[in-house]
């Protein structure tokens, strides 16, 4: 079952989709206990299907595996898979199994072609650049179609969890509003309900025991700034705050309620059974690559213990990686020596994966001017490695409250369209001018006045130092869910590596780039 979709031209000069996109859904048998099923790649809301114990989906790097711990799930009547709100979406709409429980831009483009823009993911509420734009016009959905971004509207000034208004430490001015959703009369700062619209990628809903752990680095006070840590209202215990890009909701249930109300346009309130179904599924689903082209299976019995969703399910959550007993992504002794039956090509690829791992772990470079990393006792700059920030065992997340500013949304590092008389491309994201108020200490690296495409955590906390900080994501299933970063600014794993190389002057060689890319695609 393989189909090829020709290149399509949408929306005039703005949207030229890439060359040939191929999709394949398989049951590759990459895992010895795989359920042999050949699923359709797109899971539509309200379908009656069975989510089996194990699934695989092909991607350009190989195969992604999904492991559902415990009993299979019948999707009919299940709150994660049912369209609950007015726009026909379900949770699964934006958390697709084939895309590592996120949503790739390739799938979004395919869905536009298959449904002529009628799929619920293109709902005007947040699937359009702004709800005021004409429906079904690809230009109105350009951020979703080209970067995989949904609109997130947040109140300004921010509201605390208890409903009180936070007095922000900075003023915010809209200096560029290509979507019209920040300065219009119906939406934006000038509306009767002032909001700021930013545009973000859906995060993978898998491997959640790691994103919701309450162990190393989680204490009553946030390790980065000493402020009170958000707590689970049901238990009263502090949480890791690593679930969402801006950490605005601390638990899976609270996130589900918010997503139902906003993304699904569900007018009611999820009941206990619905919440329980959603959380149960989200706590049991694991996603990771299981096969890499040329390298072959990543999940053989004697293979590296880092790889595959079953190893994620069996891994220890909420612990920091080290270089003796518990690597961030443990490789063990696998593939150090040639294995009987290994082809030369396979051997070469596996060696590349191992080298990529070592680059991730041991290749030092100078990390500089990154808020909530260089400010937490390591010095600025600090000579460290990828694994310094991406230190949580098995996922490469931050084990403590993980919002940082590495420059993906703050200028001068964020990706911007070059402005000159010869460039016909226009910037597609809003731009905000931030001014830290008098009496507040300036941002240590950007000063008192600076620019951002998305203030990130600061839209929740109101803190000057949080502007542009984003909670880092897990590194699993990367091959299936491009583009990357919260604003989709890296179209590929290679672009992601290039961003870091440029940002921190790492000076990767071409071989290092290749090896790191291969390693990351294997996760």
């Amino acid at each position: 079952m393989r189909r090829h979709v020709s290149a399509a031209l949408l929306g005039g000069s703005v949207l030229l989709f890439g060359a040939v996109v191929s999709f394949q859904a398989t049951a590759s048998g990459a895992d010895s206990t795989s359920v042999k099923e050949a699923p359709r790649e797109w899971w539509s809301p309200g379908e009656s299907r069975r989510f089996p114990e194990f699934l695989t989906y092909a991607n350009k790097w190989g195969d992604l595996g999904l492991y559902l711990e415990g009993a299979p799930i019948e999707t009919k009547g299940h709150a994660f898979f049912e369209p609950l709100g007015a726009n026909g979406r379900a949770c699964v709409s934006c958390h697709q199994p084939a895309d590592g429980m996120s949503l790739s831009v390739a799938s979004i483009q395919q869905r536009w072609r298959d449904t002529r823009g009628k799929d619920p993911i293109f709902a005007q509420v947040d699937g359009a650049n702004c709800p005021t734009l004409p429906a079904n016009d690809p230009a109105s959905h350009s951020l979703l179609l080209t970067r995989g971004l949904f609109r997130i509207a947040l109140p300004w000034p921010p509201k605390a969890a208890d409903g009180r208004t936070i007095d922000p430490e900075f003023t915010i001015e809209v200096v560029r509003d290509p979507t019209g959703c920040n300065t219009g009369t119906q939406y934006g700062l000038n509306s009767s309900n002032p909001t700021i619209s930013v545009y973000r990628r859906p995060r993978p809903v898998a491997n959640t025991k790691y994103t919701t752990h309450q162990r190393f680095g989680v204490s009553p006070f946030i390790g980065k700034n000493g402020l009170p840590t958000a707590r689970d209202p049901e238990t009263g215990k502090p949480v890791s705050m690593n679930l969402m890009a801006d950490a605005r909701h601390p638990t899976l249930k609270m996130q589900a309620r918010d997503a139902a109300a906003t993304h699904l346009e569900f007018a009611g309130r999820l009941n206990a059974k619905q919440l329980s179904q959603i959380e149960d599924f989200e706590r049991r689903i694991y996603a990771a690559q299981v096969r890499l082209i040329q390298a072959g299976s990543l999940v053989e019995p004697d293979g590296p213990p880092a790889f595959g969703p079953r190893n994620l399910a069996n891994g220890e959550a909420g612990v920091l990686g080290n270089n003796t007993t518990r690597y961030v992504f443990p490789m063990g002794d696998a593939w150090k020596k040639p294995v009987a039956g290994e082809s030369e090509e396979q051997r070469s690829k596996r060696e590349s994966i191992r080298r990529g791992h070592d680059i991730f772990f041991f290749r030092t470079f100078w990390i500089k001017d990154s808020m909530h990393l260089n400010t937490v006792g390591l010095g600025n700059p600090t000579k460290r490695t990828c694994a310094t920030c991406h230190g949580m065992h098995m996922t490469g997340m931050d084990s403590s409250n993980g919002w940082m500013d590495i420059g993906t949304t703050n200028l001068p590092w964020a990706k911007e369209v070059p402005l000159n008389p010869w460039n016909q491309h226009k910037p597609d994201l809003p731009l905000f001018k931030i001014t830290c108020k008098p009496g507040v200490l300036p941002h240590p690296y950007l000063g008192r006045v600076f620019y951002t495409q998305d203030p990130g955590r600061a839209l929740i906390s109101g803190k000057c130092n949080d502007v542009g900080t984003v909670v880092m994501q897990q590194f699993r299933g990367l091959a299936s869910r491009a583009p990357y970063f919260s604003n989709g600014s890296a179209a590929s794993i290679r672009e992601l590596i290039d961003f870091y190389d440029r940002r921190y002057n790492i000076q990767f060689s071409e071989q290092e780039r290749l090896d790191l890319e291969t390693f990351l695609a294997s996760l």
């Binding site: 502090p238 270089n323 003796t324 500089k368 400010t375 600025n380 600090t382 490695t385």
Partner: protein
């Protein structure tokens, strides 16, 4: 004339430098310098024609936190006659504060040279740890009833409020208050004035004692410690002295 003035100033500075005796307390504001080595970088700063060694890069568990390029640093410490490290005279009891405003002239990053090697094994390599944090915190003794009033102190960088250094100390306060069923938490905020080695004074910003005291109360309440009665006060008159003057005291009364 200008040249003469510079010459006089330089002479005065050198004379002052020569007068800095071993054991003498130093306090100065200068640019930090980072020097790479074959393992972890070390941090230096220059004052009065001399280079001082401040410490090395370790991890968040260290007592010494390296400063920041792009900012000046307030260095407070006692000069030693120990052998130079990374080309700098070691300071004892060193405390560094990153000055809040940008100083874009402070950007000196020196590459590794064979002649500058650390005379000790760094407790934390530049890459991932060897399975532990570089420094272990002493475990506080578990208090036994009858519980007594207990005081805690938070210390701050110059002009700073609560930051990454403070969660473990605030957690100690929380734990004791919860364990003892605290009835009252008394918080007193202070601000400091540092006597610099050049004869001038550096005073923390106005109103900071109040900001510090109120912030600590807000943080403890925000973390769930809402039952005790809070008595929050501050002393705005800056206390002249070393880094320990920049503080908040917290007394938990069961």
């Amino acid at each position: 004339m200008l040249r003469l003035a510079r010459g006089v100033a330089l002479t005065a500075l050198l004379a002052h430098s020569a007068a800095i005796a071993q054991g003498q307390h130093l306090a100065f504001v200068s640019c930090p310098i980072v020097r790479d080595t074959k393992s972890v970088p070390c941090w230096l700063s220059e004052y009065g024609g001399e280079t001082y060694y401040l410490g090395i890069q370790t991890d968040v568990s260290a007592d010494f936190y390296p400063p920041s390029l792009g900012h000046q640093v307030l260095v407070e410490g006692d000069k030693t006659d120990d052998a130079r490290i990374c080309g700098g005279v070691p300071l004892k009891n060193v405390v560094v504060s990153v000055m809040p405003e940008r100083a874009d002239n402070c950007q000196t990053l020196l590459m590794a040279e064979d002649r500058y090697t650390l005379p000790f094994e760094p407790p934390r390599p530049p890459g991932p740890s060897t399975g532990r944090l570089a420094f272990a915190y002493p475990q506080p003794e578990k208090p036994e009833p009858p519980y007594q009033p207990k005081s805690f102190e938070l210390h701050y960088d110059f002009d700073a409020t609560v930051g990454f250094k403070h969660p473990r100390f605030l957690t100690l306060v929380m734990d004791y208050a919860k364990l003892t069923g605290a009835r009252t938490i008394s918080i007193v905020g202070y601000r400091g004035r540092t006597a610099l080695s050049n004869g001038t004074f550096l005073t923390e910003r106005d109103n900071l004692a109040k900001i510090r005291a109120q912030e600590v109360a807000d943080l403890l309440r925000g973390a769930g410690l809402t039952s005790p009665k809070y008595e929050v006060s501050w002393i705005e008159e800056p206390e002249t002295g070393d880094a320990s003057r920049r503080r908040t005291t917290i007394t938990v009364t069961p």
